[in-house]
Symmetry: none
Subunit: 155 residues, 2 copies
Amino acid sequence: MGTLSDSIERYLKGRLSRAVEGVIEIRRSEVAEQFDCVPSQINYVLETRFTPQRGYYVESRRGGGGYIRIMRIYLRQKQSMWESVCEEIGESIDAARADSLVARLEEMGVLNARRALLVRGALRHETAGISPPWDGVIRAKLLKSMLSLVFHEGG
Amino acid sequence: MGTLSDSIERYLKGRLSRAVEGVIEIRRSEVAEQFDCVPSQINYVLETRFTPQRGYYVESRRGGGGYIRIMRIYLRQKQSMWESVCEEIGESIDAARADSLVARLEEMGVLNARRALLVRGALRHETAGISPPWDGVIRAKLLKSMLSLVFHEGG
DNA sequence: CCACGAAAGGTCAAATAAGGTCAAGAAACC
DNA sequence: GGTTTCTTGACCTTATTTGACCTTTCGTGG
């Protein structure tokens, strides 16, 4: 199912979710061997899927006894989360950053799969054919409006 | 029998109706091959027949392991209301018409008081300082995006 | 000390594998 | 006959995989 990168991503997230403290330490070469791929493939997965934008922090050390440490970053409570989300969106946001934000909110359980899809769909549909820099401005407005419904619903 | 596009549409809807969760993932090139046409034909079918207005959401990924994912949103009796609301909003809508639409949806129970307030707030806030005719266009996009979340929620 | 080699991980670019866009021409429909 | 919808193809953008080459760290023998 999916690409090699997807499998590695799933594997790492699986280990992370089972890890206390939300931190794991891996050997790049070991993971590469497990998935029968070149070591730099692991870097690729880390760079594309474990970014700060998506709520991960990665650090590493080279040399003998080297390692890669992956950390899950937990966010604050709902009230301040809405504020920080607004701040992150700002007056304009590009498609990639918007996507990462939606992915992160989905992983955090703020958006279920269905809503995440609707949000992504609306962002794409409503900004189609609009050229920079206005697409970013409109995307920001749409995102803030839709998420305001989600964050402020219920109690 | 209709056109090639009709056949492709029927084929995709057939697969969708048999899919659990109402989601399918296709390979554009594979479907194109099945119907012996160019790949971009698939895009045409998706753009013209699988729109949010009609209750479908499409997303895709390029590159290795790329795919096109199509989701059916079930609306039951609300489907026609959603369509007519979309039509009423159109590509642009002025503040007064937007307000009365929101009021009407609130009276009908589609929007509760809290949400109606959020929608009005977002419309006002996000179009403030934007001069005609763009305020109307943005208002329309905001309204459709927010209402899509409301209309398409639940099962 | 210090140099050096082994043991990590890092970088970058090429090759490959998708899907997207757009406009021109053809067909179907008033 | 004109308008709308469909079909095709040339060209574009993005994502993944692989490999050659680079840098950092640690331990050890001189």
